[in-house]
Subunit: 331 residues, 2 copies
């Protein structure tokens, strides 16, 4: 492994100079620059990221801490983030928080100790005084992903309230009056906002909000299946359902199929989050589709921007989702 010292010797300069031409950290004589570059080329030298990091410089790496495994939405985001990070010369360290505040804190500590330049985090319900406090204390630049929090951090995600209301309106226009909602994990801002959107939509259309028609699906497949069953077991069951995210939609569909119900014939269904190939699903789902690629890329962009200007005011960006009409709504 050739080191900076080798290059320096080869070029007949000091390591200081090599370092400076490499990082552009101070003016260096044109001739010298050339000699250094030549030496680098000749030796095939590549700087050692680890040593660089230890000496206090950037690591050119960013951490991504999310609750990925079972969630196709986050899987898409991972791809987008990796791609944007790579394009900008950064390596990605990936960790799963499982949406548990403790695991999340551990993960974040790990990443901070590995000296990532910055962090992308989909905060769990308890992040504010766990992981986020830790980041703040160690001034680790962070961009929050997907979930918005009333904290002074950069944040990027999508609109939740209005789009969810729109989903309800769409159902109302089809004549539905009793509409059920399968909500996400308590404490996540997305859950709150979508729930608020649901209520808003009901109000706007002059529909009564029956609290018994709101069930928690905990943002996951199985719990959503149970929630759906609870909703449908009621004396006066809903004629239409709104699913609060990706994973829960799957649970809802399974519950419906278990009960032998066909969508949209026996019940209508609309959902937040699209699937990459939902046009091959049966039924083809009517959904609010998030611009996942753009969200991932934007998050990386914001993070790198903040690295360049640590004192900038925190910004929140909401990228508009798309309303995709397919068959499950009964259109």
């Amino acid at each position: 492994m050739t080191t900076m010292a080798d290059v320096a010797r080869e070029a007949g300069v000091s390591t200081t100079t090599v370092s400076h031409v490499l990082n552009g950290t101070r003016r260096v004589n044109e001739k010298t620059v050339e000699r250094v570059h030549a030496a680098i080329a000749r030796t095939g030298y590549r700087p050692n990221t680890i040593a660089r990091a230890l000496a206090g410089a950037r690591t050119q790496s960013i951490g991504l801490a999310i609750s990925g495994v079972s969630n196709p939405y986050f899987m898409d985001v991972i791809g987008a983030v990796e791609s944007e990070a790579a394009a900008r010369g950064h390596t990605l360290l990936l960790g799963d928080t499982h949406d548990e505040p403790e695991k999340e804190l551990q993960m974040v500590q790990e990443l901070v100790h590995r000296r990532v330049d910055g962090l992308l985090l989909a905060p769990s319900a308890g992040a504010a005084d766990g992981a986020l406090r830790f980041c703040a204390d160690n001034d680790m630049p962070v961009v929050l992903l997907d979930r918005f929090l009333p904290v002074p951090f950069d944040q990027v995600g999508t609109d939740n309230e209005e789009p969810t209301a729109r989903l309800v309106t769409h159902l109302a226009q089809h004549g539905h009056k009793r509409i059920g909602f399968v909500a996400g994990l308590e404490g996540l801002s997305t859950t709150d906002e979508r729930l608020r959107g649901f209520r808003l939509g009901m109000q706007r259309n002059g529909l009564e909000i029956d609290e018994a028609l709101i069930a928690s699906g905990s943002s996951a497949h199985e719990p959503a299946r149970d929630a759906t069953n609870r909703l449908l077991d009621q004396p006066d069951p809903p004629t239409a359902l709104v699913a609060g995210n990706n994973s829960m939609t799957i649970g809802v569909l399974h519950a419906l199929r278990d009960r032998g119900m066909t969508v949209p014939r026996d019940i209508a269904l609309v959902a937040f989050d699209d699937f990459e190939w939902s046009d091959l699903f049966e039924p083809r789902l009517t959904v609010i589709a998030q611009p996942t690629d753009a969200i991932g890329a934007e998050a990386v962009r914001m993070l790198l921007e903040r690295l360049d200007d640590p004192d900038r005011e925190p910004r929140s960006i909401r990228l508009a989702p798309t309303f995709v009409t397919r068959d499950s709504c009964g259109c």
Copy 2:
């Protein structure tokens, strides 16, 4: 940030001793050990991975280099790998090779320079004398993922030949004689093996192999769509199709739908690779399902095993896939 020196002072010992109790690298007096642990607890000390790495020790991190973005199979594997790595105290560095030898080499170099302890790689068609040579030259431990190569490296993936043959047999048992195959990217071992499996299956069932009924879908969605169209545009088109992987199945389905064909009524379809929710697809696909979680976990296990014993003979492990009968075959 508290360092080892702080802990040493606090415990009234040298950093040498702290290091040794931390790593269990030599016998230390029981009393001393306790004092050190107490000091660590009191100071909330956490070792600095970067410094550790620079000093020549392990980094407790592994690299995963795959061609992920558009491939659900690899997305699953990422999840499994992260989970197993985390469980074993390792952090994951993720990079996308895009299945291009140059990008792959870059990625691998990057990862090696970051001193990952080992590498998980889904080798591209040109990996053997690019990325793999580089790893060997730098004795970076590597486990090959998904694709098998005639090289002295550990490898883990699934059986391709027999299962694909079985897919064909299943079709033959349904009376199909003209069966088309949508093959993957040239040069990948999985492509070769599955193609061989296809031929084997045809032979076994006494069916004629019409080379015009084999089309390359380049392992991707769009090319597979085109390949399907080419297959079906022939004078004597196939009555059944075998899709060589996940992404290509999507392409095939789209092509079929574009042509107004219904599966399995107008044509039968079976495929390699399952989807997480294929039971919600229309048609419900009959497939060979890889044990992706097990593959990811096993790859991590093998890698860590090799770290402990660098001179062990390389091993190849094929985890058996599952044959899942659903509707698309016409059952």
